[in-house]
Symmetry: C2
């Protein structure tokens, strides 16, 4: 039979991570050059490369027999551990009753968008996961392009909110930020919170990268600044390198009792609860322990070293503007300086730029601007710096911590040869581009002379 699909489903695009996957498979399998058999330089996928902390693996092993359904909102031990985790690391006093556990932060954000009435405000550039959710839910939404500093401007936020006539608006704040790697400081958050209070804006604060903040003392949760209006989401994927475990949590705003009941209905209606053995494993991930603390310290330091290296190398390429990451394992590289050359070579969109970079001889995978909810013609790209053997690099770091900046540079070079080589490819790409365009125009010149 011929099936009929609901329109809002047809309307959403394939989420960008899937599109990217298909795209990479396609291009790679097409490459006729045998020397390219290693694949591609992976600046596209954002997945922590480290092993899941041993203490969590052990807890999963110990609880493999837990076959019964867990409570919808999460097992009490886990919510208790998450509350203490937030107290210890983020100085927040959270009643465990305000915490709900879900099968990944992504699903929880989807569920929040399902229940929260009002237009969604999406600052751009943005993580590639939010927009398909908003589209699938047929929610009204408005982009909020960030300023030159790549951060939300409170006055722009106010202006936009004043134009919206919903009783409630919903801002998606991603801090630390994917794709820029930037961190909002306390003052910036306070200014945003002021506008939110004034304009009835609820905030979904996606803080999945909080624990990766390089100078960890600098991280401030929006849940602290705007506790009455913020839904903080976080999980195991980035901090604990356990994206595959699928477990996230949301902290509800203070005094949101009725809303929690609505949310519980949604979770029970859609997926019952998170896998019980996984929840027990997560308890050990969120409990305060030396092992976990050391894990956070080492992994964030490695991210920092790689981030510095990538930032420095890309900054050396003439005209390229790069965000200086303070957290995450991404930065945003702005190649718009080369717009004239790219256009001359018929590379008219960011998608075309991604394609030009993935083919032989560059084989470099990036996430182009339109996947970051930027204009199609914006030649910005997210550069992830996790393409190395996480287990090995973790051990190397533990054995000998690089201290001086020379040691840190050396550490990056030794431990992440593919990142080094991939960046050289990007550099080479733009060099070649300039050359080719120069050739092209001198040819044109000579043609017009001879005519």
């Amino acid at each position: 039979m011929r099936f009929v699909v609901d329109q809002q489903v047809e309307d959403i695009e394939l989420p960008e991570n899937l599109k990217l996957n298909t795209f990479l498979q396609e291009f790679h399998s097409d490459c006729p050059h045998s020397e390219c058999s290693f694949g591609f330089y992976g600046f596209a996928f954002g997945q922590s490369p480290f092993p899941v902390p041993k203490i969590m693996q052990d807890a999963l092993i110990k609880n493999a027999d837990k076959g019964t359904y867990a409570a919808v909102q999460g097992i009490p031990e886990l919510r208790e551990a998450i509350a203490k985790y937030n107290k210890h690391y983020f100085s927040m006093d959270i009643d465990p009753k305000r915490i709900y556990v879900g099968p990944g932060t992504k699903e929880l954000i989807f569920n929040l968008l399902e229940i929260l009435h009002g237009t969604v405000i999406l600052p751009t550039p943005a993580w590639l996961g939010y927009l398909p959710q908003i589209r699938l839910l047929k929610k009204n939404f408005h982009m909020l392009p960030t300023q030159a500093n790549q951060k939300i401007s409170p006055s722009d936020l106010r202006k936009l909110a004043l134009r919206l006539h919903d009783r409630q608006k919903v801002l998606i704040l991603n801090n630390p930020n994917n794709p820029t790697g930037l961190l909002y400081n306390r003052l910036e958050l306070e200014e945003i919170a002021d506008v939110c209070r004034e304009q009835s804006i609820a905030v979904i604060s996606d803080e999945i990268y909080a624990q990766t903040t390089y100078d960890f003392t600098k991280f401030v949760s929006m849940g602290k600044i705007y506790p009455e209006g913020t839904f903080v989401t976080n999980g195991l994927s980035k901090s604990h390198a356990a994206g595959g475990y699928r477990l996230g949590y949301v902290i509800f705003p203070q005094h949101a009792l009725d809303l929690k009941i609505q949310f519980k209905k949604i979770l029970a209606t859609e997926y019952t609860a998170v896998s019980t053995p996984i929840q027990y494993a997560a308890v050990k991930g969120f409990e305060i322990s030396d092992e976990i603390n050391e894990y956070f310290e080492i992994t964030r330091n490695i991210h920092k070293i790689m981030g510095e290296y990538v930032y420095n190398e890309l900054s050396k390429i003439e005209g390229v503007k790069v965000t200086k990451p303070e957290a995450t394992f991404y930065l945003l590289a702005d190649f718009n300086h080369y717009a004239p050359e790219l256009q001359a070579m018929k590379i008219n969109t960011s998608q075309k730029l991604s394609e030009a970079l993935i083919v032989h001889p560059y084989h470099t995978a990036i996430v182009g601007g339109d996947s970051l909810v930027l204009e199609r013609t914006d030649y910005s790209a997210r550069i992830a710096y996790v393409d190395y053997d996480g287990a090995k690099v973790y051990e190397n770091y533990k054995k000998q911590k690089p201290k001086t900046s020379a040691e840190r540079l050396e550490f990056a070079k030794t431990n992440a040869p593919r990142i080094v080589a991939g960046l050289e490819m990007i550099e080479k790409f733009f060099e070649k581009l300039k050359e080719e365009v120069a050739n092209l125009s001198s040819k044109r010149d000579s043609l017009s002379v001879s005519n």
Copy 2:
């Protein structure tokens, strides 16, 4: 701040399992009788009482280190194993490409309802999970009350479909059936399939209880009868007693390529993938092995023994009509014979009947009619028969298999004392009810005489 919730969320009721949970907690904690400290006789919750098969636990242990994201549609090994499982047990030739894995069958049914256009036809009585999903998705739906035999009437289905003007309709078929424990035979499925072909009805065939079919040779999947229009869903929750693992699958209809792409978008947008270690554990659950096969045989035999016992005991109560279960661990008991007495005692709804049965001295938990999408005044109830120590009973069965019907009766009595006692309570309840009503009316008579 005061949050605004979208209307369709407000509109859905608390899913019945949650409502029940709250209800039971509330009533139990209120009971002032210390002898009731053991809780209540649990005929309400439907959860397999057995341990997760050892082979699956071992696989989970072995794969605790799998922290990376899995493919959206499921890891290849798992889809391959599920295909072979369907071949071996259900004689279906399924290309693994037709299989998608999700975090529980419930979520997959939700996702199917999300993408499939058209009015949903829901036969009643029904599992308590479908209706909140339909409501949350704001889908049009129609009930299809079953006939006296508690099964879908093909001619009623045709009549209903003729009244609907959608290009496509969606029938939710639950076979074997929760709450009745009944099984559709091949002929019945063929008659339904004929109507579906004729009336453009897509079928979501929820076959989560397939493996519990007592005489397993009798089970026929709708996917075999109507392969071009059926989405078969199944999972680990009932057959493998691993509801807490949260893993289900859907088999797409033949030739539904475009639809699979739409579905993949939905999964990637909402939850990325199922927990990776859990997927590896599931591989061992679906792979053909003597261990798993023995597990299926033993567990379905125990369900059968308990089902027979409960069926026989309830049938002995005067006027009570009971479905004779051929699968699952439920049956439907119809207490409408007592409607006059119940009404006389102001027990006017099935909800009131549940309340009357949960309080002292009965402490018997059932799922009342309105939770099964029946009329509020329909005194039917789902009786689950899993209130025993599954691990112990499994071992007892293995040690000495009851063969004769006397041995089977003895097995039930010895191994499920709470079921025995709970059924006595139900019997006592209706005896008392009759007595009290008789007293009431004789009092009334004497009053009217003395007046």
